[in-house]
Symmetry: C2
Subunit: 170 residues, 2 copies
DNA sequence: TATTGTTATACTCTATAACTATA
DNA sequence: TATAGTTATAGAGTATAACAATA
């Protein structure tokens, strides 16, 4: 069943990717300028803020980072900057509990207004109240669906083509 | 007037970012496995396909890459892989015309089905026909709006504040 | 044995600045 | 002078694999 997408769907898909790419780029810039943060780092801080307490590395990673080592790296940067602290977990000796510091919270607070500005100017500006509801509903469902999906196949096989592979199948 | 976003908007924004991040990641994987391509490279090839003829570097860059050198790099990789060729433009001696090769077209064709599969399974699966129309309409408007936006301030100045990578020496 | 995390390493993308050549 | 591209280079993110410690 290699049913393709209809033209409308393909168009929607590309428009979505491009939009978010532009949005992401703008946001990345705003965060960098106003807080010296990458979006990934902002996400981690935001998640910690949202949780209202410490999180383990694993909990922190979910949906934000796609490799353990990547998270370790980012958490290390945040810790070095004094935005979070890391310590052992009383429940599970293997786990590392990450806690946002006051400095971290302050930074999030300082960066938030500008961040929200970008989102409003770029994303919400051209949308009506009705659009907003529709988008919220739709994208919410999409995200839930994607979260449920296992990371696309259990890596059936690996192909290591460093450069774009040309031509026919090998 | 630093009016923040309403909770619903903030939620929508984050859901959108997360969804596309997941989608992007999946797509990146599919393209890598089946064609040894990055999404950026796929985009460039797709754009060339769509144009139906050669494009200048500048035309090619639009919306895909955010720096000239980045495009030069990617185009170089594509050329080295034999997916595109580059040559001088008859109209403007400064310009470089990029043309997709048959190999390039073949690769796009080979990768497309799987690519579309990912989009369908992850993005469109949970959407009704009505959702699709709504999303297409909304996201289309958003993209047009964003394209119109100048790249968020003409880089008035560069500031590095409280970056997690700096400050405390190691 | 399976998890939680870290480390070490290697690869790649990205961006800035300097430079060439055309318009 | 402004624009089109390239080059060189530096900086950062990410992932894989190997490893340590705990469940």
């Amino acid at each position: 069943m290699v049913e393709g997408l209809r033209p409308e769907q393909l168009r929607t898909y590309f428009a979505l990717m491009e939009s978010v790419s532009l949005l992401h780029h703008a946001v990345e810039q705003q965060l960098q300028e106003e807080g010296g943060l990458r979006y990934v780092q902002f996400q981690l801080l935001a998640r910690l803020t949202d949780a209202g307490g410490p999180l383990t590395m694993t909990e922190l990673a979910d949906g934000v980072v796609y490799s353990r080592s990547g998270l370790t790296h980012q958490a290390g940067l945040l810790a070095k900057a004094g935005l979070v602290t890391r310590g052992p977990s009383p429940d599970d000796q293997r786990a590392t509990l990450v806690t946002i510091t006051d400095t971290g919270s302050a930074l999030v607070a300082r960066v938030m207004p500008g961040h929200v500005d970008v989102a409003r100017d770029l994303l919400f500006a051209p949308l009506s109240e009705q659009d907003l509801h529709a988008l919220d509903d739709i994208i919410g469902r999409v995200r839930d669906h994607m979260r449920a999906r296992p990371p696309r196949s259990a890596a059936p096989r690996k192909r290591r083509t460093a450069q774009p592979t040309a031509g026919t199948d090998e």
